[in-house]
């Protein structure tokens, strides 16, 4: 089976590097971007199987807006989105209940930062098996 491709969009380059190594250790092809514009470009060109998105980039809602934009686009609307966040601490938003709300937060699942490698891999595998 062709190895799954994952795009990580996060402005924290150190964390992105760690995530990339973890995913590559399980033979995923990983492409990274450090901002919203770069991320959109990579998603359009690479057509990934999964998107890992940080919520807070240049603004605290960058990730939300990008997720909405992706889910409205016919080319990317079926790609599962896993959101990485520490934003709950700043906003009090309950991701557990909001993830999956197609209007407000159109993402498939979320993980709170910091992410343990095992948890990341299991969540990625779960989302990919659902979408395939």
């Amino acid at each position: 089976m062709e190895k799954a491709k994952v795009v990580i969009v996060d402005d924290d380059l150190d964390l992105t590097k760690a995530l990339q190594i973890v995913l590559e250790s399980e033979q995923y092809a990983v492409v990274t971007a450090s901002d919203r514009a770069g991320g959109m470009e990579k998603i359009k060109s690479e057509k990934p199987d999964l998107i890992i998105l940080d919520v807070m980039m240049s603004t605290w809602q960058d990730g939300f807006e990008m997720a909405r934009e992706l889910k409205q686009d016919s080319q990317s609307k079926d790609i599962p989105i896993l959101i990485l966040t520490a934003v709950k601490d700043r906003t009090g938003i309950s991701f557990k209940s909001a993830a999956g709300d197609p209007v407000w937060l159109p993402v498939d699942d979320f993980l709170d930062k910091p992410v343990e490698p095992e948890l990341l891999l299991s969540k990625v595998a779960e989302l990919l098996s659902k979408s395939r």
Partner: protein, 447 residues
């Protein structure tokens, strides 16, 4: 200290006057009966009892009027309440004058009871209004004395109390009236002086309190900002260390592996602490918590299932008892789950092997009472009042578990209080601890 708004303070003052008036009615009726029938003083019994009845009708009317203005309002209208107080005050002075007319006029030593009204006016009303009331009182009494003196109205002499009628005795009338007038004005001057100073002090206290709250909010914002930024860096450090610890980038020798593991563990502990601090600060800053109906019964069962493995690892018997009527409550499910999890984890953590931890929930009037009881190390009596303080850890808890944030119980307390609930703790060192909290079943209930 509770800080009332001016309107609430005035409304309370108006109610106070009504209560005092009931007392005054009893004094008038009982005093008339006693003076007339026991002391044998000549009294206008019929008129005085009639005034007592009128006072009762008037007091009931004022009570209803006040209830009408304040019904269902957190902040009763200030002007309306002030008008009621002024009206009560003026009517009281009028009634007291009529009462005095039928009970000896200037011969009656109760004339000085006007002083009480003047003190009440000074406490409740403005300085200007207080002086208007004292002038009204002096005018009323002056008119009564004058009309009786010039015999335009009859004088009801207090035979049995005075040897002969005094209303025509010029020197006595003038002297008593002079003392009466000066006493009343002096009382208003002194009481107003004290009342104004107290009002100013209260205002300054209120302003200082607002400033303190604002400073506290700024401090919380600062803590939130700093801890959030620290958490971002910690997440990156932990992420990178996680890759090495899990040997994803290859194996290390034993010494290297030990050091990296130590660094990873310490980072996890700091991250846990920062997360707890963020959670607490975020709750302090957030004014609203999303509330909905949810099953407390299911939530408790879920938490018990989640902590079961931890209890089993220490051979601790974990018992759960939920009353048949405990089910749906109104609140934030995730927060309540977090609070119960925190308390149960604590109970398991501080209970020795083969101990018991219980969670009981039952209905209590319009609330649900939840108890978490353990046979753990307990909390020293002298430290019980501090266990909910931020960063506080009981001395014996530190011996059992070196690392701890001291924030868990503060978070629990915040959560319960946000739901208008109450939390308490009872403990005996070496025997065990019982945490109890109540939660209202519906949104409008107060505990």
């Amino acid at each position: 200290m509770e800080l009332n708004s001016q309107s609430t303070r005035l409304a309370k003052g108006a109610c106070w006057m009504i209560r005092l008036r009931w007392l005054a009615i009893v004094v008038v009726v009982a005093g008339t009966y006693f003076s007339s029938n026991v002391l044998g003083i000549s009294m206008q019994d019929f008129a005085l009892y009639g005034i007592g009845v009128l006072l009762a009708i008037y007091n009931t009317t004022i009570l209803l009027l006040l209830k009408h203005f304040t019904r269902g309002q957190i902040e009763p209208p200030t002007q309306a309440v002030k008008r009621i107080i002024n009206f009560q005050m003026s009517t009281d002075l009028l009634i007291l004058t009529v009462l005095l007319h039928y009970s000896g006029g200037i011969e009656n030593p109760f004339v000085f009871y006007f002083i009480f009204h003047m003190i009440i006016a000074s406490i409740l009303l403005s300085v200007r209004e207080s002086y208007l009331q004292v002038t009204f009182a002096v005018s009323l009494f002056g008119l009564l004395v004058l009309l009786e003196y010039i015999q335009l109205i009859p004088h009801h002499c207090l035979h049995g109390f005075v040897v002969h009628c005094l209303h025509r005795d010029g020197l006595y009338v003038f002297g008593t009236f002079f003392v009466f007038v000066t006493a009343l004005y002096l009382v208003v001057y002194m009481a107003s002086y004290v009342a104004v100073r107290l009002r100013r002090a209260e205002q300054a206290y209120k302003e200082a309190n607002v400033q303190l709250q604002e400073k506290d909010r700024v401090k919380d914002e600062y803590v939130l900002r700093v801890t959030h930024d620290i958490k971002g860096h910690l997440a990156a450090i932990q992420g990178c260390l996680g890759v090495v610890v899990n040997k994803i980038v290859g194996s290390l020798n034993e010494e290297q592996s030990d050091l990296i593991n130590r660094a990873h563990n310490r980072t996890r502990k700091v991250t846990y602490f920062i997360k707890a601090l963020l959670r607490l600060t975020q709750m302090r800053l957030s004014n609203n918590l999303e509330m909905d109906s949810f099953s407390l019964k299911n939530t408790i069962c879920d938490v018990v299932t989640a902590v079961e493995t931890k209890a089993q690892s220490k051979s601790i018997a974990l018992n759960c008892s939920i009353g048949p009527s405990v089910n749906e409550i109104f609140g934030n499910q995730l927060s309540i789950e977090e609070a119960i999890t925190n308390l149960l984890f604590n109970a398991i953590k501080y209970t020795p092997i083969n101990g018991t931890v219980e969670i009981n929930a039952r209905e209590q009037s319009n609330c649900v009472l939840v108890e978490i009881v353990d046979t753990g190390i307990g909390i020293p009596q002298g430290e019980l009042s501090k266990v909910f303080d931020e960063f506080y850890r009981a001395t014996n808890a530190k011996e059992v578990e070196k690392d701890g944030t001291g924030l868990g119980l503060s978070i629990v307390k915040q959560i319960i209080e946000r739901h208008n609930g109450k939390i308490s703790v009872d403990s005996q060192e070496g025997i065990g601890t019982k945490f109890c909290f109540t939660l209202p079943k519906t949104s409008c209930s107060k505990v």
